[in-house]
Point group: C2
Chain length 333, copies 2
């Protein structure tokens, strides 16, 4: 699961000028060989993604924390799972997650399929005791029997197929045609002067050394956060409380290593950072410059970069709401 | 607010044969003179209805408990509000609520507009301290400034307009073309023999004395529940713990008085009754016969009536998901 991290290795953060590959966001996402995207899977996945009955209490769906009516998350510092419980991390956006090579803040899942399996049985997220229980519940719902059959064939309700369907749906959650995308495709009027200035400053400063690629997510890259050794702002924001990948691997080398998150639609996903401790985008930009690049950004430079980041807000595809099949009886307490 | 109840007065439950008015569900709902339905209001109302930022924690929207992807409620005995809190009542369906003359189980709201104002500031539901706080929060969101302006004119963000928009949206939540509707419109093949038998038994038994009208909700009618004086099943289901309308009015006459709920889509809204204590529809039918009409229903008669009730499941209109405008910064803890 952590191979990808090894492959990308630690790319040195020099802060020196780097060339930003100016690429528009692709409008489709590649699917793995064992889970080709089909309309039937996407439809089933959309149902499962929005179905709160995948949680122990019947109150929390994937969409509760990764809300596709909003910026793909919940605008909270940390999400609220079943029975009002909260964890320590801020929900990453689901929009364009298909372009991440690893998922979760600590990158512990190497595919959307693997990610989708996690929250359902996490006791403070969706709280199901086991996937066997999820499968058993889905099997009691006739409409799901039919939808799984359409997507995968007869008697196909399983953890594997449920997570495949959810991943197939998530691969459709792409937000193209941002001002930036139009700009790089040749429409030089799509970004205003301040946004162009902010883009150039982001490159000069070194932001795009890590936030690289069309999704500005350095796909597959992990970085230490915070990088700066002297612990600026730690008393205020408690960034180091969370050891990142090391929470999973228990290895010293992985301490405070986090997946590089996408900057697409970042203007819609306040509050910021892995623990959601920073309420606004201008503060987040200043902190990143100081903590990762050792630079003190002026208010003017910060405003320019924020203007550019707003140019990364894409077009949200119009979705129809799924009609979820009926529950035969009460299953929740 | 309680005038309507006085007007309809207590219609005697005789259990004798009553004529069922065979009417299909209307496809549009009337709007009050001061809130004519417009496309702009409906669009704004749909946004507000699905926006969890109308709750203190940013986790609970109207749709959380009255889920339009499901049968208009949450399939729970009682709903779960902010911070995992639960109350004592089961969420009524929002589908066809436009045809209720009063809202809430205790009928304390005489319009959809009045109902919409309630849960937002209920401490165990959406938990906002006041509507002033809601309005202040909405005003920070640029997209809402624009959407309210489109629907109501300049600087129009207010409690009154927010609840009007939500009510306008709810008036579009109608599920026509059930098997029963097709049947009463002349397609005698739309219901099978068992369903027709069940319909006739429901009339003979007296179910439709109260569950009358095209929405089977005896519009505006209150009834005592449970009616039977000797407290059958009370130890098991605790129906009498909730004093119904008397919880609001504190009048002895209003004790255990509840609004007659719709039977439309009842097959999708388990568990049943005001406290959600009865898990399945067949049990609910048997209990109603015993408690309200003093009759012991056979398994066969019960199965026939359940088959008929399934014929009241309508067609759910395809809805597009609203795109909710972005939050400028973190507002939740």
């Amino acid at each position: 699961m952590f191979k990808i991290r090894m492959l990308v290795s630690a790319i040195a953060l020099t802060g020196s000028l780097s060339v930003m590959a100016a690429e528009a966001l692709p409008t489709t996402a590649p699917a793995p060989a064992d889970n080709p995207t089909t309309a039937e899977k996407v439809e089933l996945g959309k149902m499962l993604y929005h179905d709160p009955r995948l949680s122990s209490t019947g109150t929390v769906s994937c969409a509760s924390c990764h809300n596709t009516m909003l910026g793909g998350e919940d605008n909270r510092p940390n999400s609220m799972g079943v029975n009002g419980q909260t964890g320590g991390r801020s929900a990453p956006t689901v929009w364009n997650a298909a372009f991440n090579k690893v998922q979760f803040w600590d990158g512990r899942a190497d595919s959307l399929e693997a990610q989708a399996a996690g929250p359902v049985t996490n006791p403070i997220e969706m709280g199901m005791k086991s996937w066997d229980d999820v499968v058993a519940r889905l099997k009691t719902i006739e409409g799901y029997q039919a939808a799984f059959e359409k997507a995968f064939g007869k008697d196909a309700i399983s953890k594997d197929n449920a997570t495949k369907a959810i991943a197939a749906y998530e691969r459709t959650l792409i937000t193209p045609n941002s001002a930036y995308d139009k700009y790089v495709k040749g429409d030089k009027s799509a970004m205003n002067e301040q946004q162009v200035r902010g883009m150039n400053k982001a490159v000069e400063l070194g932001c795009t050394s890590c936030h690289s690629g069309p999704a500005f997510n350095g796909p597959g890259m992990f970085q230490k956060f915070p990088m700066h050794p002297n612990g600026y702002f730690e008393a205020q924001y408690h960034f180091k409380k969370d050891k990142g990948l090391a929470e999973v691997t228990k290895k010293a080398d992985d301490e405070h290593m986090f997946k590089v998150p996408t900057l697409r639609n970042v203007a819609l996903t306040a509050p910021y950072f892995h623990n959601g401790s920073v309420p606004t985008l201008d503060k987040a930009v200043k902190l990143m410059a100081k903590l990762q690049l050792g630079k003190d950004l002026s208010d003017e430079d910060t405003a320019d970069i924020v203007a550019f980041l707003n140019a990364l807000t894409g077009e949200f595809p119009k979705q129809t709401m799924p009609t979820l099949p009926g529950t035969p009886g009460s299953t929740f307490n």
